[in-house]
């Protein structure tokens, strides 16, 4: 780069504080920079994601559930009692495509209006479990020594607590109704495992050259963890977050189904419980089977698309694949702030 002739006849200077690359970047018009950033951070990952059938189907599915929880609630009316006759079978009338319950409530409407609750629970659970795990795992792995011992002992204690029984006890004590709180309680036994996994990855990363360089120029621990380590581990964290959200939804539905959690709004687990208790759906599926069946399918479908999406994300974060699909790959690579 250096020694390139400039329009004024001079030669690019290579200074201590930066190479000619920096100067060139300053001259890049903002629009161009935005276009490149868009291509690098949004368009290329999207192209890679689209090229893989797992992320394509999974992504569409996840989007579908999110739309169901946001737009669907507005479009489809609130479920009410005695909207129709009792125990209408599925696919028989246009008004109640999935049939009705013992109270004559439309099942499709109930399913749609339960989605926001489920999404909120998954969101709260994922934010809590992944948040705590990232904090504990990163600090524990990077700092080592006493901090590591203390944090790992704490997470060992939480691993020892038996998951579902503990949650049942907690749910019995707190009687939580807010989906955000329910999600957080369920996430209590999710984080230690993830924290352990992250810690081992950080232990491997902390000896890398660029981290040592960052340490030697005196960057603070939060800066190193946040800016040097976190981006490297982001794919792993995101993929595990997918798994964690599925686990949280499964557990919450299980708890609602066995009737441990109180509720004021309906959700898939509550629907299953009512179908089981009031509709006696297991013993007489001809009459109430659909009431139990559709929440089950909706739940499994949500889990399936999330797992599919998370599995496929693995490819999206693979840098070699990204480079091949990027339109501005060569520039993009140069634009990366060079390893100090």
């Amino acid at each position: 780069m250096s020694g390139e002739p400039q329009s004024d006849g001079g030669v690019t200077q290579e200074s201590i504080f930066g190479t000619s690359e920096d100067a060139e970047r300053q001259r890049t018009p903002p629009a161009e920079r935005i276009r490149r950033a868009f291509d690098f951070y949004i368009a290329t990952p999207f192209r890679v994601a689209w090229s893989d059938w797992r992320t394509r189907i999974g992504g569409i599915g996840v989007l579908f559930y999110i739309l169901m929880g946001t737009v669907g609630v507005v479009v489809i009316g609130q479920p009410q009692m005695n909207e129709g006759p009792r125990y209408v079978g599925p696919f028989q009338t246009m008004e109640h495509p999935l049939g009705t319950t013992n109270m004559g409530t439309d099942i499709l409407k109930q399913l749609v209006h339960s989605t926001p609750t489920m999404l909120k629970m998954a969101l709260a659970g994922v934010v809590f479990s992944v948040g705590v795990a990232v904090l504990v795992g990163m600090i524990s792995g990077y700092k080592g020594g006493t901090v590591d011992t203390v944090l790992m002992t704490v997470s060992d204690i939480f691993i020892t607590l038996p998951g579902l029984p503990l949650i049942i006890v907690l749910a019995a004590i707190f009687s939580p109704e807010d989906p955000f709180i329910v999600g957080t309680i369920i996430a209590i036994n999710q984080w230690p495992r993830l924290a352990r996994q992250l810690r081992s990855q950080v232990i491997a990363l902390r000896e890398e050259d660029y981290v040592e360089a960052a340490r030697s120029i005196g960057l603070s621990t939060p800066t190193i963890v946040g800016q040097e380590l976190l981006p490297k581990l982001a794919p792993f964290i995101l993929i595990t977050a997918g798994g964690a959200s599925v686990a949280i939804i499964f557990q919450s539905v299980a708890l609602y189904f066995i009737g441990v959690l109180p509720y004021d709004t309906s959700n898939w687990g509550v629907m299953m419980q009512l179908a089981y208790e009031q509709g006696n759906a297991i013993a007489s599926p001809q009459r109430a089977g659909h009431w139990l069946f559709f929440p089950l399918v909706t739940l499994s479908g949500m889990a399936f698309v999330t797992i599919l999406f998370a599995q496929g994300l693995d490819r999206v974060f693979n840098p070699r694949l990204l480079a091949r699909h990027s339109k501005t790959a060569s520039e993009a690579e140069e634009e990366e702030p060079g390893g100090l």
């Binding site: 019995a172 297991i282 089950l296 599995q311």
Partner: protein, 340 residues
């Protein structure tokens, strides 16, 4: 040797700390069982018009829950543990008016029965399917199995349990629909009773099998693929060893190593999920009692069941750590290894 002592101490600490946490939660949370019983007693006394005698109430509560509300928590906890260790006294169940120890002692073998068979079947299938998928990597068998495993992963075990109960139990009458043993048969070593308990346990064990199987197979495949690329495997093939020998002795044995610890922790997961399984099949194991106790706030029984569940978890992790050296000779006592 010092490793074993250190590991045992660590396990003991996390076990006691986990119990203490639950114990404290139960005591501290307003509206917890001790408070609830106290409030009820005070109200009873008011209704009878008598003077409210704090000490008398405290004694009543203590006789009911084994916890004296006036005692500071650490003292109460110490006394609780002391009673368990010295006299096997877990207190008396409020719900059943029986010593907690007797109730759990009768229920635990049934839970063990379900869990151990579920685990064995689930893990065997995980290893087999994972290795076969990796061995046939890229073929139609691999793709088909991957999709199948992902579908299985997205169906929660309780959904499978419900479906099996509904169809195999109620519709086709192939299996009993609840309970642990045929009511007519005499307990003991007679054919009728043994066939009966096998039939009653078949469906719960199958649904435990799903807990053990679904998650692991894809991970097992990834690990096996990594081992397939190893040099010693190629040289084994060049030496002309039979496929069978390579598969069992060289491939599977090495691929199992990283997930061995996970299996042991999986035992704890299966015991946890037993709560839901036993409820669906009305199988009176430890989980069935725990659920009833938690919902009815039968405090001594919940704590007792909790001691049991936490004990199983700690034991599972300990056994995993101590036996790791047996399956991986390089690990020695496992002192320097990440446990998961």
């Amino acid at each position: 040797m010092s490793y074993y002592i250190r590991r045992l101490t660590q396990a003991a600490i996390s076990f006691v700390a986990g119990l203490f946490l639950t114990f404290t939660l139960y005591r501290l949370v307003p509206g917890g069982p001790v408070d609830a019983i106290m409030a009820q007693r005070i109200q009873d006394m008011r209704e009878q018009g008598g003077a409210i005698n704090q000490r008398e109430i405290a004694q009543m509560v203590e006789s009911l829950t084994g916890v004296n509300p006036d005692q500071p928590i650490p003292v109460a906890f110490y006394e609780y543990i002391r009673d368990i260790v010295l006299y096997q006294d877990f207190g008396e169940s409020i719900l059943y008016q029986d010593p907690v120890f007797d109730i759990l002692f009768r229920a635990i073998p049934w839970s063990m029965f379900l869990s151990i068979y579920g685990i064995m079947l689930g893990f065997t299938a995980t290893i087999l399917v994972g290795v076969i998928m990796a061995w046939k990597e890229g073929t139609k068998i691999d793709t088909g199995a991957t999709v199948l495993v992902m579908v299985m992963r997205s169906i929660p075990y309780y959904v499978a349990a419900i479906a099996m109960l509904s169809f195999l139990g109620f519709q086709w009458g192939l299996f009993p629909t609840g309970g642990r043993a045929p009511p007519a048969a005499d307990p003991g070593f007679n054919l009728e009773f043994m066939i009966g308990i096998t039939q009653h346990a078949a469906l719960p064990i199958l649904s435990n099998f799903i807990v053990g199987f679904a998650g692991g197979a894809l991970g097992m495949r990834a690990l096996t693929v990594r081992v397939i690329g190893a040099d010693y495997l190629r040289s084994a093939r060049l030496r002309g060893l039979k496929s069978n020998r390579i598969l069992t002795r060289y491939l599977t044995r090495n691929a199992i190593l990283p997930i061995y610890t996970g299996f042991m922790i999986g035992i704890a997961a299966i015991f946890s999920s037993n709560v839901v399984t036993e409820e669906i099949f009305q199988y009176q194991g430890a989980g069935w009692y725990l659920l009833r106790a938690a919902v009815q706030q039968d405090y001594p029984l919940v704590m007792g069941a909790f001691v049991f569940f936490a004990g199983i978890t700690v034991l599972g992790i300990l056994i995993a750590d101590f036996t790791y050296g047996l399956i991986d000779p390089r690990a020695g006592s496992g002192a320097s290894r990440e446990s998961f």
